[in-house]
Amino acid sequence: MLFKNVADADKKLRDVGYISSQEIATVVYLAGVTKKPVLVEGPAGVGKTELAKAVAKALKRELIRLQCYEGLDESKALYDWEYSKQLLYTQMLKEKIQDIIADTKTLPEAMDRIALQENAFFSERFVHPRPLLQAISSEKPVVLLIDEIDKSDPEFEAFLLEILSDYQVTIPEIGTQSAQHIPFVFLTSNNFRELSDTLKRRCLHLHIDYPDMNRELGILLVKFPGIDRVFAEKIVEAVRTIRDLDLKKKPCVSETVDWTRSLIALQMFEIKPEVIMGTLNVLCKSEADAQKVREHYSRPPKGGFSCA
């Protein structure tokens, strides 16, 4: 099942609680139809990973996630060959092997016999599939999320490129496996390091920025169904004011959501400077930033916070 058109993509994502923008919906739809991976970039916490999850949910597909980190290699991303299991099997089956070659007279004959059983020794049974292989060999179409690709090593990127171009994997012991269904691939990046041009060229690029007023409001309304609209508007406005300050780490959507949740839990339904100061540690994750916000709100009100 795929999205039928842009509007359909937007609606389906909305149904699973993801408020998209026109651009996001378009790119997601196009990626689905053209079967190209999407490279999602943007500041931390704007919902890059969330998008992949939402797409999986909307399409009712399984989400397979590969978290990248420095030192990630093939055996952790693609597959692992389980030697120990293979050895164990061989040992346990020793007697059976004896049976098979019992009536052979010469060594070559015995070898031929065993060769006939080769498939049993080198079977998929001993392959431990990791996310990439899982995504490719899955019976049903899946959504593959390769998270924080920029944290992986350049070599791994090159390796990934190979897989993303023809969706097939060669396992020396068994042979080549091609994808039955091309997975819906999302790659996310925080621009920790420049990605290679080739990888970028393969992908559709989607830059998710801090949401605009309406979208952020929409997100709050969806996440907190009973929320008072005026209250939500005030929250969004306050967060936007803070975001405009020169902070090291700006509060993003997930922080807005967390903040709203804490405000509701604290039963504070009015956004006053004192309230903001009191709950600042939900919004700002570093002391220097918190200090800046405090300074901003302790200034005379006309230049600073406006309740209008």
Binding site: Q22, T26, L30, T34, K36, L39, D197, K200, C203, L206
Partner: protein
């Protein structure tokens, strides 16, 4: 449609985006799939295919607006259709007069509603501009504009007298003016797009001055910023390189313990070998920078690069001195790199008017009555007394200064003690080599106590030095 898209892609390329043929093909495929009537999906589809980096998005949006909005005239313009025959006549008349100039012809075409020809011309010009920054297109335009306006009035007056259609004349007037305005607007819009720093702006052809070779003291504010950008890129490259080297180097001695443990899975046969990670020796760095008036210009760059590649070094301490040594490591630790440098510079009142790269751009009166003069002897002696403990056998001491002692005691013996306490001393001199040892320069006196004395006048020299230090 395809024609328009190709043209748009060409315009984007001319503007500095890198768009490959396959990306254009993908874009066409994508456009076939969506409803083209609303604009946002159309734009999003193009953007997803053409722009692959955040920093290019702004440029793309500008070109998009220019191509699909500013230039979108003709088709739906009823006025234009009504007047088209008149317009074509008009343009032909002018065309005959200006046959010598191709771009002028295209310009007339544009007036007549033919956007494509003009764009092609514009694109040609843009491509030319990469090599020849001084192509006089904008010069063509304004006299042309004047000429046209003048002639048009002359021509139209008798014509309107003939037909008596006053309204028609006025609307023709408006239309032409509008289009002229557009063309002028376009001229003004596009070139700034070209000036956006591309990924390898450093090597871009036609750059008036080569940043790498320019002495630090001669950089303009804009250039200094670019050097800092270049340093950032260099630092990233180095970090990448070091990470890779680290991985390659880890095949060291066999780690018996781990290998045996793993071998237990295989009936005690060591099928998989584990190697002890060989830690690459990261050097500790202590930087001692002269911030007296003669040499301070190099210091911000030095500090920036040292702290940018901090991850590749095990520890960085930094000190600045004129006559008294000040430990600035804390400042560097507590603030963002550029911010910290700014603070240090302010503390020493180091802002020459044309060079206020850091922080506010207000000019400061830096001619202090009791301006400290650099005293290497005193500084070294104080460093030896107070900070000798930061030096150890793994530390590289980097001294950045011109060695101009103002004829005071150079204090060589202190440098010697410092040298004995650390692994090596590298002296970076921001002065041109031919001035070394001239006048009050004591660099030759210091030389025997340094492991290396090297010039550090510009980005290239700094780059070479840092690369050597880190790798």
């Amino acid at each position: 449609m395809i024609q328009a898209l190709l043209q748009f892609a060409a315009l984007c390329r001319a503007g500095g985006l890198r768009i490959s043929t396959s990306e254009v093909l993908d874009a066409v495929r994508c456009l076939e799939l969506i409803d083209l009537a609303p604009e946002e999906p159309f734009r999003a589809a193009l953007r997803a295919n053409f722009v692959k980096e955040m920093k290019d998005e702004e440029l793309f949006d500008r070109i998009f607006d220019l191509y699909f909005h500013a230039l979108q005239i003709g088709a739906d313009d009823m006025r234009a259709r009504a007047l088209s025959s008149r317009l074509v006549d008009l343009v032909e008349t002018f065309g005959r007069e200006a046959q010598d100039s191709e771009s002028a012809l295209a310009f007339f075409d544009f007036l007549a509603g033919n956007r494509a020809a003009f764009l092609q011309e514009l694109q040609k010009i843009l491509e030319l501009e990469a090599d020849m920054p001084e192509l006089p297109f904008s010069d063509i335009l304004s006299p042309l504009q004047q000429k046209i306006l003048r002639k048009r009035m002359d021509k139209l007056l008798p014509e309107s007298a003939l037909e008596g259609a006053d309204i028609e004349r006025r609307s023709l007037d408006d239309l032409l003016l509008e289009r002229l305005g557009l063309a002028g607007h376009m001229q003004a819009e596009l070139p700034p797009g070209l000036n956006l720093p591309g990924p390898d702006a450093e090597q871009a052809p036609g750059r008036p001055r080569d940043l790498g070779e320019l002495p630090f003291s001669q950089l303009s504010r804009q250039e200094a910023r670019e050097v800092h950008l270049a340093i950032e890129r260099l630092a990233r490259q180095l970090r990448d390189l070091v990470a890779r080297q680290y991985r390659r180097k880890r095949s060291g001695v066999v780690d018996i313990k781990k290998t045996l443990r793993r071998a237990a899975c295989y009936q005690g046969i060591p099928l998989e070998l584990y190697f002890r990670r060989r830690q690459k020796r990261k050097s500790k760095v202590v930087a001692l920078c002269d911030v007296s008036y003669s040499v301070w210009t190099a210091v911000p760059f030095m500090l920036n690069i040292l702290y940018s590649v901090q991850d590749c070094l095990s520890r960085v301490r930094s000190f600045v001195f004129i006559a008294r040594v000040t430990d600035v490591s804390e400042t560097m630790k507590d603030h963002e790199i550029m911010d910290a440098i700014d603070r240090i510079m302010t503390r020493f009142k180091l802002e020459s008017p044309q060079y206020a790269v850091y922080g506010g751009e207000e000019e400061r009166d830096h001619v202090d009555a009791d301006l400290e003069i650099s005293d290497y002897g005193a500084a070294f002696s104080q460093f030896k007394e107070e900070f000798i403990s930061v030096l150890d056998k793994k530390t590289t001491l980097i001294i950045l200064g011109d060695g101009r002692t103002n004829f005071l005691d150079p204090g060589v013996q202190f440098l010697e003690t410092m040298r004995d306490h650390c692994r090596r001393v590298i002296w970076l001199n921001p002065e041109p080599e031919r001035l070394w040892g001239v006048g009050d320069s004591a660099i030759e006196t210091y030389r025997p106590f340094c492991d290396d004395v090297r010039p550090c006048r510009n980005l290239n020299e700094l780059r070479a030095f840092i690369t050597g230090l880190v790798l």
